[in-house]
Symmetry: C2
């Protein structure tokens, strides 16, 4: 079983989960993206429902639970780093605090299509993935011990993906991790100073400057943030203020899906199907000032290994100014790059 360990200096929490070593070794054997027989062994493909495990949620127009015919499907991680059955009580240990591995660790199988990418999917298919994230977050939020959610979608080996079939991971935590707390604290301080949401103000400033915006309308916006950490870092969110992703309506999910599909098509064309990490940031449960925080998706192209200087929240040296990235991404039309993006 896993445990949560607190760093005695920074308070950073690490999940120590020895049983996950088996998951990684197993994935190394099972995942060969270039192998035509890979689908026959893929635990996430249609017809292999038993391999991925009992479903927690599915979008299935026809057919029976745990059988084929689904469009999106959520299962418990076979070797979860965290479990809802665990306790979150500190074990005695002086300075070195260990807590039970309480939480949830679920796998969202985004689509039955083994080779899909967001950029080559329909907006409806992307909306179903977002729907699955939202529904699971709404369900897990009923467990009052859960304080924050992370959704991460890794594509490609450089992003640490262990299965080629499109999937995302949903993690529920009984605490707010420090990298999210940095955002919450910064946005909270801005709100107390100005009475406004810093994300809403940044979007207004970006639209006014018009040098880092990839696309926007009254509902949604995609842009390359001013302090982009890596080449072509891209954020997507709603123009209307929502602190928590799980508060979005079905209509909101649809317009976000349209924007996300468009911007991923541009990134896939400009960067030739890059490895990438997509991170969903949503307000912690019970945040003090919901008016201060604004949910958003961060898309991180993984064009190379993380250099030592940037490791674990270090200093990023970005060689492509976001203004250049936005210029290249705006020029992609219909999923085709107009001239090659240079990185």
């Amino acid at each position: 079983v896993s445990e949560l360990r607190r760093d005695p200096v920074t308070g950073r929490t690490v999940i120590v989960a020895p049983e996950r070593a088996g998951a990684i070794a197993w994935a190394r054997i099972s995942s060969s993206p270039r192998d035509p027989a890979a689908r026959d062994r893929c635990p996430f493909c249609d017809g292999h429902e038993d391999w991925a495990g009992r479903e927690l949620l599915a979008w299935r127009p026809h057919g029976l639970p745990n059988g084929p015919g689904w469009q999106v499907r959520v299962v418990a991680n076979r070797l979860p780093a965290l479990r809802v059955e665990s306790q979150f009580a500190a074990l005695p240990g002086g300075l070195l605090e260990s807590l039970g591995g309480l939480g949830a660790h679920e796998v969202v199988i985004d689509t039955p299509d083994h080779d899909a990418t967001i950029g080559r999917s329909s907006a409806d298919a992307v909306a179903r993935m977002l729907w699955a994230w939202r529904e699971r977050m709404r369900d897990l939020r009923r467990d009052l011990r859960m304080k924050s959610f992370l959704v991460v979608k890794n594509v490609g080996v450089l992003a640490g993906a262990t299965e080629p079939h499109p999937h995302s991971q949903l993690v529920a935590l009984p605490f707010v991790p420090i990298h999210q707390d940095d955002e919450v604290v910064g946005a909270g301080a801005y709100f107390r100073r100005t009475g406004r949401c810093v994300f809403c103000d940044v979007m207004a400033e970006e639209i006014s400057a018009d040098t880092r915006v990839i696309g926007h309308d009254d509902s949604t916006m995609a842009f390359n943030p001013f302090a982009s950490r890596v080449p072509f870092e891209t954020w997507v969110t709603t123009r209307v203020h929502h602190a928590a992703f799980e508060d979005l309506t079905d209509h909101d999910l649809h317009v976000v899906a349209v924007r996300l599909q468009d911007v991923m098509a541009r990134l896939e064309a400009a960067l030739a199907d890059p490895a990438s990490t997509l991170l969903l940031h949503s307000a912690p449960v019970g945040i003090d000032e919901p008016a201060s925080y604004h949910w958003h998706i961060e898309i991180i192209p993984r064009l190379g290994p993380v250099p030592g200087l940037a490791w674990d929240g270090g200093i990023h040296i970005n060689t492509v100014p976001p203004e250049k990235a936005a210029e290249a991404l705006r020029q992609v039309i219909g999923g085709e790059a107009v001239g090659a993006a240079r990185i």
Copy 2:
């Protein structure tokens, strides 16, 4: 020229340095570690002093500056991300704050031996590398605009190394980056509560528990920290309290070199010459409470890509408890693994 950009939410600082793109492209061409002709093209090998640039410091028993015969050599980065000639004034930009790329970005050529590793070097050679770090930090500290130093030594492509020849990078910054501030703030709070250094207390607790210590004596200690983020994360520091690395004496450097060489020999044997990142953490210049902070080296084996969940200070899932890592590393004798370490 580069600029420092502040994230408007978290205050995280990113270096935007378009000219560095050339450095990376150039390194891709020049660095082919397996190619026997690689030394002929290596800018860091003896006899190629002109290629690496004018030296800022060298340990050279015989010979002339900028010529052969050195044991360790420091040069300015050819395409620096930061420059001492820059200004650190904010450019007008409302919410989106840009600062000139002030700082220093130097390259330490750790040894003339193209194929050296720390584990296969003499303690004297390792001490010369530490000496170069310390001397450059002492010199740069005289520039009162510099507030913190980072030293990073990347080995291998997975660590983002762009040259195979052993080298380290020294970065001086006109601010304290948030990942270092997290340490300073946490250690400061502990000091105000207890009157003691948290790092000293952790070492005492580790020696008492004796499950995560690789080796220690009255001068130095190497251990796998309780909340290790990745398999075989290893810390090395002095038992005696020193806040800043640049305050170590020549004798201190020598005993640290002996410990660092020993522990790297163990890691290299147990993990079969892993890619790795070595990070030197030293107190920011002018820290409020020097009694609260304790310099240390963090060795991060880079056994795979950084998964999306852990990217940029996210959540680490570590599959090897540090107790298992320490057990494996203690069993390595004379640089040979006794049984294979399993990760």
